[in-house]
Symmetry: C2
């Protein structure tokens, strides 16, 4: 079986469909929980599956440093290692090298850096990134790119984008043919429309199984991001999945889907869960806040996750404030459930041609804010 | 329905039976996981239940300070608060006040102390301990006592034991009658046989629904503890449950059960799980050790817990070394499963009159040590 994307419905620019892979089918628009270092933090993989997630993201940078890609390969690959038999997308490592590693040196060849864990020296190139993602057993491999933070000078954005396109071509060659696996190219160009077009053109000429809109959610703010998403997805082939990397808040996701994005990932639901921030239909709720101390009500009475079915806000407040692991477990589960429920709602709305109404209801509910304190 | 203990089988001094409570039946000998502050750390309560636990222990000291007993009561009691509908035993707070609180002052009345969390001042007495345990909704309430560390001077042990017996009488009065709930007295006396007898006599005269052997596992070592257990349980009424507090390692548990103990609790399986120490049929295994780094084998191929069914030693090693929460979750689950499997094995052996053979097999397997490295 090969990698295949089928579009089932559109509603304006928004699309819903299915990505079929040998390891299972991904319903799009899809949100991918982030399993950084071989675990979606504070969750068992069967619980992640229960929330409705079809695919996880793994971080090449983290995994290559610890436990190491060769070790993961010897242990049967990332799926067996982390006990997740569904599809896995791995990033290229490029973004996190630039944000996490020490002593980075960028050249045409790639990036030399020192590990933030033990200072060991590494070289990441398009070729080594493809090899590491192969060793991990990734189902969807990302081309190696450079992702500059915004704001950035146009000259720097242009040079960086062109480097990324040369790396994309090298990634394509190094990836070769891998039965059932997909290689995605990544569009760059910051907020510059002509650079986005030049990048899309370069990627289309190379040819990929899917296309990411990269270089967003890096400091530009939602309005600027939506500005790019108003035109960037349409520059990419309509018959391939479009993946917006590292996004985002619930409103970012709704806006991105409305603009034609099929896949997204973000650490926000998991990271926020560990610190007591919950996402709900009525907007974010900070469970650390003392107003929840005596509140016997569930976080969201309409949510089917264990945190909402079994516990009061008072309990969530108590466990988060006490640093109890169950607080992180329950709020992470809730947030991932909220994100997957949001995606299911978006998919249904697109299929039924009522995305505008869905979005209006979403905006109203979010603006309404949390339930009144007792 | 009332609290009732039924003895089903004996094998030497060892006993197996059932404790019936309005919230469910406890198979004895029973191991009670410790849910210190309203959570068995790193576990969902349904997972604790899945390991085979019939009853949890809650810590009065922790809960009175945070979130507070009155608050727990307003929120429906500890069972509803922590989402555990089975029986809960609460300790009296006495032991932890002496080990955790700051600025303790002991008097005939009780113990004045400052919270280790926020420095707030509190007074714990037999009467207030009974009231706090009532507010929590405890099914099995422990009398308020003082538990001296060992070694201790005989004079000090005697004075402490007699104070605890006066407190036991006050606890009995303050407890009054609570339908379906039980009050347990606690024997003290350190390693002094005559003091143990005097204490048992005092408790029997007061009359309790169950009797704890207290003041052990406080520094005396296994041989000295077993020395006391060779005679202390027989000093307590045979028709009531006998509870050994704060014990222990697997070999401690086997030895205590063989000497007539019906109930035990300990933080060891949960605390050890969080730091990478696993208990197995073949003895303890430290998953932090580098020898597990490349080991694709399960921790224990005969164990049915999620850690052993879904993951390699290499994965457990990786997640524990990386500080990933799933490492704590999986090893805590395994350790609780191991403890409950051990209790199930002990109960079956007693029922079938083959405890000596069970114990010999246990000792042999533990001495054998972990499987050979690859």
């Amino acid at each position: 079986m090969t990698f295949r994307f089928t579009l089932h419905a559109t509603d304006g620019a928004a699309r819903s469909g299915l990505i079929e892979t040998p390891r299972g089918t991904i319903r799009t628009p899809a949100f991918m929980p982030v399993g950084t270092a071989g675990t979606v933090k504070a969750m068992l993989p069967e619980s992640v599956r229960e929330t409705g997630a079809d695919i996880l993201l793994g971080n090449t940078y983290h995994l290559m440093l610890r436990p190491g890609a060769e070790r993961v390969a010897r242990l049967g690959g990332l799926h067996q290692f982390m006990n997740w038999d569904g599809p896995i997308l791995t990033d290229s490592g490029g973004f996190q090298v630039m944000s996490l590693a020490a002593l980075r040196h960028l050249s045409e060849e790639g990036v030399r850096f020192s590990s933030h864990i033990d200072g060991s020296k590494h070289l990441l190139t398009p070729e080594s990134s493809m090899e590491i993602q192969r060793l991990l057993g990734s189902d969807i491999v990302m081309a190696f790119d450079e992702c500059p933070a915004l704001p950035a000078e146009r000259g720097a954005l242009e040079a960086s984008m062109r480097l990324s396109m040369r790396w994309a071509a090298r990634s394509r060659v190094a990836f070769g043919e891998r039965a059932g696996n997909a290689l995605f190219g990544i569009q760059q160009g910051g907020l510059e429309r002509d650079l986005r077009e030049e990048s899309a053109q370069a990627l289309r000429e190379i040819g990929f199984d899917g296309y990411a809109v990269g270089g967003l959610a890096v400091g530009e703010g939602q309005a600027a991001m939506f500005g790019v998403l108003d035109y960037a997805p349409a520059m990419l082939p309509a018959d391939k999945p479009r993946y917006l990397m590292g996004v985002g808040k619930p409103a970012d996701i709704v806006g991105a889907v409305a603009r034609g994005i099929d896949m997204m990932d973000c650490v926000l639901p998991t990271r926020s869960g560990r610190t007591g921030q919950a996402f709900t239909r009525r907007g974010p709720v900070n469970l650390r806040n003392a107003r929840h101390r005596d509140d016997p009500r569930p976080l969201d009475e309409a949510c089917a996750c264990p945190a909402c079915k079994g516990y009061s806000r008072a309990y969530l407040h108590h466990t988060i404030r006490s640093g109890e692991i169950i607080g992180a477990m329950l709020l992470t589960w809730h947030n991932l459930q909220y994100y997957q429920d949001l995606m299911a709602g978006l998919r249904a709305a697109i299929a039924e041609g009522r995305l505008a109404a869905f979005k209006a209801e979403f905006d109203t509910a979010q603006a309404q804010g949390d339930i009144e304190p007792l």
